[in-house]
Structure formats: C-alpha cells, structure tokens
C-alpha cells in the first residue's frame, strides 16, 4: 500500500508505529515464570517498548510479554524483584 503524503505530513490515525515489529531486533528473549510473578508491575513501568501487558492482581493474571515488539533489552528481567523473568537466547 502506498502512503499518500498528507498536507504538512500530519499523521492522523496515531499510533501508526505498530506495523514496525521491533521484536525482530531481539537477540535475548525475556521469559516469564508466571508462578513467580507477584503482579507488582514494576517491570511494566520500566519497559522502554511498551511490550509488557500489565499484570492484574485481582484476576491473578501475570504479566505478558508482547514479543512482536520486545527488543530484549533485559530491563524487565533485571528489575523484577522476584526474579520472575529470565533472559534466554532467542531461537534462530
């Protein structure tokens, strides 16, 4: 699909970045241990790529990582106080 240039390059239907699947950048991959996850959402606060779906304590739902975009920076794993996330080599 060809993008039509808008007047002044205004972008209307934001966000439009979702087509850019940055998951492909990953070399290491965060894996969540749902058991260990205490749903504190600390990792969520720190993810630079909005790639963590926050946990829901009430629903007892652990966080979920959106691998379409997660770049594998490792921050979530490093910052989880409960070591609920581990970085593993990306399958190639």
């Amino acid at each position: 699909m060809v993008t039509k240039i808008t007047k002044g390059c205004v972008i209307y239907n934001s966000p439009t970045s979702l087509g850019n699947k940055t998951g492909g950048w990953r070399t290491m991959k965060p894996v969540v241990d749902e058991e260990k996850c205490k749903k504190c959402n600390i990792c969520w606060q720190f993810c630079p790529d909005s790639s963590i779906e926050p946990a829901d304590r009430k629903a007892n739902k652990a966080i979920k990582i959106n691998y379409d975009y997660c770049k594998g920076c490792g921050i979530c794993a490093a910052e989880c106080p409960f070591k609920a996330i581990t970085m593993v080599m990306e399958e190639k």
Partner: protein, 395 residues
C-alpha cells in the same frame, strides 16, 4: 470604511487587528516594531478581546510559537524585519513545510553587516526559496489590503501556506499617509474564522505533527509543497477579485503602468514604483513611451502574467532592491530565465538600486532609462549589472 492618516506600519497593524488573530507572537525590530506595539495596545485596551499577544524572547521563538499556535488551529500572525527575519530563516522553511497559514508582515530592511536599519528588500528576497507566498505593497493602503488578503489566501483550504507581506522599511513603514480602513463587519464577511482541518492539536483526536520524512517520502513532500505554492496562483486571483468586489480596490499579481507598447519596460517591486510612476508620467508627457511592470505577488512567481506583460517590450530594465552577492539581481535572474527559451523576447538589463536606505530619486530612473535605451539602440546589453547611484569616490 473610514479614511485615516496613519504610518505604513500602523496600517499593517490595523489590518492585523481587523483579522482578529488568535495568537500574535512577536519580537520588536525596527522598522516593524509598530506592529507588535499596536497589537499589544489593542489587546491592552480590550479591542482584541480574544487575542493572545506573546512577547517572545527572540524571532526564532516568535516563528516557533507561531508554528505551534497555527498547528493548534489558531489564526496566527507576526511581524519582523531584517535580522529578525534572518533569525527566523530555519523556521520559515519549517512553517511552509508544515503547511501552516501563518501571516507575517515584513518591514523590508537591509541585512547586516554592516548593520543598517533602513529599507531594501534583501531580507525577504533572500527567503524566496522557503515556500512562502510573497506579497509586496507599493504604499500603506496596499500593505493593509494585502495583509488582509494574505489571511484569506493562506487559510484557503486549497492553499494552506504561510504568507508574508512586505512593505519597504521607513519609506513606507514610517511615512504617514491617508489610508482607507475597511469596516470590521465587512472584513468579518470577507475573512471568516479560521477552522483548522488539516492540522490541529487536540487530545480528543490525536495527531502527530512534524514527523520526519525518510528519503522514501521527502521528495514527494517537496513536490507537493512546490505544487501548492504554484497552484495558489488562481486562488490569489480569486481572493483579489472578491476583495475588489467588496472593497472596491483592484489588485493583480503584477501591475502594468505606462504605455502598453513601450519598448523600454521597467520591472520592480515595492515603493520605488511610486516614484517611478511619477517619472513615467513626466516622461510620457514628453511623448516618449515607457512601461513599468510592478510585481505584487512574487511567490508564486507569476510566470504567465510576466510573459504576457512583457510581450511587447524590447528591453526590460530589472530594478532589484536586493542582491545575490557574487551573482547579481535575484528578480533579474528569475525573470530573465523565464524567457530564455523564447525566440521572441526582450533584452534584459539588471540594475541594483536603493540598498540600505539609499534614497531613490526621479533622476535615478532617468539614468536607468538612458542606459537601457542605449543598449537597446546598440542591440545588445553591454554590462552585466549596473549599480544605481553609487558614490565611487568612497571605494
């Protein structure tokens, strides 16, 4: 309509007031300062109850704030001159690229160095690449009228381009003369409120404004922008016509004065044309033929109109009040180039006049005319560029 004696710069401010702008970010600089002064006075006195005057700390910020205000959906205008316009340079290109209908009054003034606060057109002519529409008035009345029309043109959905209106510094800005001031009501009818449809900043309908464009897109954005400038031409004609209908004063992209079948035709911009018209009248009284093409709309460059107007000319004396240093007259080069492929075309001769407030006198035109006539007689132009009224003893 009321008739008032006002200085040119005040006439511009009156136009600014009549347009009821939402936001006026401005920074003072001679000889445009009357504009921000008057606008802040109108606000202080309650004559512009909705307007925000933003006393910015520099012209770069003036244009930046104007861009943001316009991008938010506000009718926005400002004024500047010379170093101020030069400091806006970066932001002028940006305003155009973002297609924001900002209106700017430029009090045409020389550029440093050496610093000089007086009139010439270097400041705005050196912004001819930037993607703005350029209007130039010959007197205060035209300044006021063009300023009003600038809003209409700029905000037209088919245009959406920033527009600058230049009148010569001091010679117009600081000269008092009678001016017809339109009624507010008539202006309101002529110039309805600006409703931003292409660019706005509103949490209820989020947009991203000012994204960067990679090579896959950039060139098309320039093409589109260039097209927009060129195709504002018919809209300008339309607005001029509507203005005439409502206010009785006729405008066109270029004005032809003098004999239609003159062999020697001047081309010039701005206030010097007034003096030149006097000279032409004197000259015609002697039975000689001479013409003047005055450029009012310089961007979009009025190719068609200029070609038509100069169809009978034998030699064109282009009188530039600015210079592209190391080349020559900017209007000269653009105009002459437009004719280069024509088999039948006049000779073109380039003159530089009135830089930095050098007074432009009747006699100067006599000299230009004589030089051009001599060339015409000789059948060729014998000199690249002629500086009018230079004191060679100083050199």
């Amino acid at each position: 309509m009321s008739r008032k004696i006002v200085k040119g710069a005040e006439a511009m401010a009156i136009a600014g007031k009549l347009a009821k702008p939402d936001v006026v970010p401005a920074f003072p600089i001679t000889p445009s300062t009357t504009f921000p002064e008057k606008m802040s006075e109108y606000v202080a006195c309650g004559e512009l109850p909705n307007t925000e005057f933003v006393p910015v700390e520099s012209e770069h910020s003036a244009m930046s704030a104007a861009i943001a205000a316009s991008a938010t959906g506000a009718r926005t205008c400002t004024a500047t001159s010379s170093q101020g316009l030069a400091l806006m340079h970066e932001m002028l290109f940006i305003a155009a690229g973002m297609r924001l209908p900002i209106v700017l009054f430029d009090a045409n003034r020389a550029l440093s160095a050496p610093l000089n606060i007086w009139g010439d057109q270097q400041d705005s002519i050196s912004e001819r690449d930037a993607g703005w529409i350029h209007f130039y008035g010959e007197n205060a009345q035209e300044g006021l009228d063009l300023m009003l029309m600038a809003f209409r043109v700029a905000e037209d959905k088919r245009v959406l381009l920033p527009t600058m209106v230049g009148i010569d510094g001091f010679v117009l800005t600081h000269t008092s003369e009678p001016v017809d001031v339109p009624e507010q009501k008539a202006v309101d009818d002529f110039l309805p409120q600006y409703k931003a449809e292409h660019c706005y900043l509103d949490p209820e309908r989020p947009t991203t404004v000012g994204a960067f464009a990679p090579p896959e897109y950039y060139m098309e954005t320039r093409y589109q922008l260039d097209e927009a400038v060129h195709s504002s031409g018919p809209v300008i004609d339309e607005v001029f016509a509507d203005f005439e209908k409502r206010f009785g004063r006729k405008y066109s992209k270029i004005e032809y004065y003098g004999d239609r079948d003159a062999e020697v035709v001047f081309v010039a911009i701005g206030s010097l044309c007034g003096t030149l018209k006097d000279w032409i009248d004197e000259h015609r009284a002697k039975g000689q033929k001479v013409g003047l093409v005055r450029i009012i709309v310089y961007r979009p460059f009025p190719f068609k109109e200029l070609k038509a107007a100069l169809a009978n000319a034998k030699i064109v004396a282009v009188v530039d009040r600015s210079i592209s240093l190391g080349y020559g007259g900017p209007v000269f080069s653009e105009l002459a180039a437009a004719f280069v492929n024509d088999a039948k075309r006049p000779l073109f001769k380039s003159f530089i006049i009135g830089l930095g407030g050098r007074d432009i006198k009747l006699n100067d035109f006599e000299n230009i005319y004589n030089a051009a006539s001599a060339d015409l007689k000789a059948g060729k132009v014998n000199e690249k560029m002629h500086w009018v009224n230079i004191n060679k003893e100083m050199l």
